[in-house]
């Protein structure tokens, strides 16, 4: 692939996906093991679930989907994918 605007933008988007992955891991880890490492007899409960489980598993994934949506909506760009499509200079990706 030519090192054009498309390539740089594609690389930036790949890094953003990795960043979301890292944030999901941090949330999952902090809630799961952070809140859940004590004695099960002393757990707090939210809607009947142990708090560690509620935050890491039930809240975690809709939260990350929302973040992902925002990242894609504001930082990802539409671009032509065809080799013989419009030259990248003609469109800078903004819709």
């Amino acid at each position: 692939m030519k090192q054009d605007k498309r390539g740089r933008q594609a690389d930036r988007e790949a890094l953003l996906a990795l960043a979301v992955y890292a944030l999901y891991f941090a949330w999952w880890y902090a809630c799961g093991y952070g809140l859940g490492s004590g004695d099960p007899e002393t757990y707090d409960y939210v809607f009947g679930f142990p708090a560690w489980f509620f935050y890491s598993c039930i809240v975690g994934y809709p939260l990350i989907t929302l973040l992902l949506w925002a990242v894609i909506r504001f930082l990802f760009r539409d671009m032509p994918l065809d080799a013989d499509g419009p030259a990248p200079e003609e469109r800078d990706g903004k819709q």
């Binding site: 692939m1 498309r6 390539g7 933008q9 594609a10 690389d11 988007e13 790949a14 953003l16 996906a17 990795l18 979301v20 992955y21 999901y24 891991f25 999952w28 799961g32 093991y33 859940g36 490492s37 004695d39 099960p40 007899e41 757990y43 409960y45 809607f47 009947g48 679930f49 142990p50 560690w52 489980f53 890491s56 598993c57 039930i58 975690g60 994934y61 809709p62 990350i64 989907t65 992902l68 949506w69 894609i72 990802f76 760009r77 539409d78 671009m79 032509p80 994918l81 065809d82 080799a83």
Partner: protein
């Protein structure tokens, strides 16, 4: 009408619908040229929209293990296994995001239809192509076999019909619709299968919670059975932290190396479809995984004395749902199995006819083969490979069952670095790819066999390290071979 018949009717209707879709998809490829037919049959002419793309990645990824094996372990190990399962949430957006637009653009530039095409264009090495094709054929065929066995056993448990009847019924259906309809039929049925799976898991979970007397009561019952069931590390620390963390490598990073998922990243229509699929796919896969594993874990509160975890899902379905509904919902796991098998089957067929036959017998010139012959050959090879696996599943040979243990990790070890590092690291070359494939697959098999004590760490972690180091070292040791 007895209960088994009532369960079977929805399944049969559902299978018939899948075949109907294949016949419709068949019509789409009429009048194409040979190259056009290949792009259509093996990649649906790169026309997937966002929703279908999301669902086909979710459905090819969700397999027998997600619906029967996974919840079965959750039944034994409680909420700790649900925590572990949730590591799979990022798979869709990570695969689409990391391979991303760069992969889609390169695939179009090089007119790649399979992962092997991409690797051939990237490394220009017959050794890489042949090693990858062989790894793909061997690991996929054994993995399909395992899926068929899982599906047929499930069918047997739920309906009471013999194993062979279940195997014949859905084994033949999946082979038929894949062979007839190609990629377009595969992804269309995947999308429907994804919806069926999602509905199935919600209903089962709600039924379990109701039978268990509500969420709080289910959790309290689990705690009374064993407090470990509601802790993040399981009863008696059965799910230690290093083991769980290994799954971030196995299912998070490693899934990038699965050819059936990666191939979908070259088949979408435009960048908008990719954006949409990243969000929709994450939403669906997270929801499905959470519901199905939670149902397995709470199942213990309803039926605490099952002899084996694998019986948890079938038991919940049969005991808690009326027969016709059970039939509709047994279609969920069957759909998961079929949608995994169909993708694999098509790629094995592509590896044989396209990556090996056309490349080496016809010197890469698909036009040397009349389009009618090509159509017949594609259909025949897909059908024959599928039937071979169905026949093998009647009495599974020990060797194949044994190889299957290495299938998932072996594929990751073989494909991850050549695909991903090749995409982003310019100096990566054929020598690096070959070192990585041989080293990675070798390391995985050896580690899985001798099982050294790694403090709970899964074999995939050192394997990924070996294949990455192999890739870099091999590439640097033979500079000048890169493109």
């Amino acid at each position: 009408m007895n209960a088994s018949t009532q369960i079977v009717i929805p399944v049969v209707v559902y299978l018939a619908a899948s075949i109907g879709i294949a016949l419709w998809a068949r019509g789409r490829s009429d009048g194409a040229t040979s190259q056009g037919f290949i792009e259509e049959y093996f990649l649906g002419s790169r026309s997937m929209g966002g929703f279908v793309l999301a669902m086909t990645i979710v459905a090819s990824y969700a397999s027998a293990s997600s619906f029967v094996g996974g919840p079965g372990v959750a039944y034994r190990l409680g909420l700790s296994w649900v925590l572990l399962a949730m590591i799979q949430v990022p798979t869709v957006f990570l695969t689409l995001g990391i391979l991303g637009k760069r992969f889609a653009i390169v695939a179009r530039e090089t007119r790649s239809v399979t992962i092997t095409d991409y690797l051939r264009a990237r490394y220009r090495s017959d050794t890489v192509v042949i090693l990858c094709s062989l790894a793909l054929i061997v690991f996929f065929m054994t993995a399909m076999l395992a899926q068929f066995i899982g599906g047929a056993r499930l069918f047997q448990t739920v309906t009471g019909y013999p194993y062979a009847v279940g195997l014949a019924l859905f084994g033949l259906s999946v082979v038929l619709y894949t062979a007839v309809g190609g990629f377009r039929a595969v992804v269309m049925t995947d999308a429907i299968q994804g919806l069926v799976m999602t509905t199935a898991v919600v209903v089962v979970l709600l039924a379990v919670i109701k039978a268990g007397g509500g969420v709080a009561q289910c959790v309290a019952t689990l705690r009374d059975i064993d407090p470990g069931l509601i802790s993040p590390t399981g009863p008696n620390n059965a799910v230690p932290q290093p083991f769980t963390l290994s799954f971030w490598v196995l299912v998070g990073i490693g899934v990038l190396g699965l050819p059936q998922t990666a191939q979908r990243c070259m088949g979408y229509r435009d960048s908008r479809a990719m954006h949409q699929a990243m969000v929709v796919g994450t939403l669906f896969i997270g929801f499905m995984i959470l519901c199905v594993h939670l149902a397995g874990a709470f199942g213990r509160a309803v039926f605490p004395e099952l002899p084996a975890g694998d019986l948890a899902m079938p038991t919940l379905i049969v005991q808690l749902l009326p027969p016709v509904w059970a039939g509709i919902f047994i279609a969920g796991p069957l759909a998961a199995i079929m949608s995994t098998v169909d993708s694999m089957l098509l790629l094995v067929s592509a590896a044989i006819i396209k990556d090996l036959y056309i490349q080496y017998r016809l010197h890469g010139d698909a036009a040397a083969m009349p389009v009618a012959t090509l159509k017949k050959a594609s259909f025949a090879i897909t059908a024959v490979v599928g039937l071979l696996v169905v026949v093998a599943a009647i009495e599974p040979p020990d060797l194949l069952v044994w190889i299957n243990i290495f299938a998932f990790g072996g594929l990751e070890a073989a494909f991850l670095c050549p695909i991903v590092l090749g995409l982003y690291w310019k100096r990566g070359n054929a020598a690096g790819a070959i070192t990585s494939i041989l080293g990675g697959v070798g390391a995985y098999i050896i580690l899985s066999l001798i099982k050294p004590d790694m403090g709970g760490l899964h074999a995939i972690v050192p394997t990924t390290l070996v294949s990455a180091v192999g890739f870099v070292a091999g590439s640097l040791a033979h500079p000048g071979k890169e493109n």
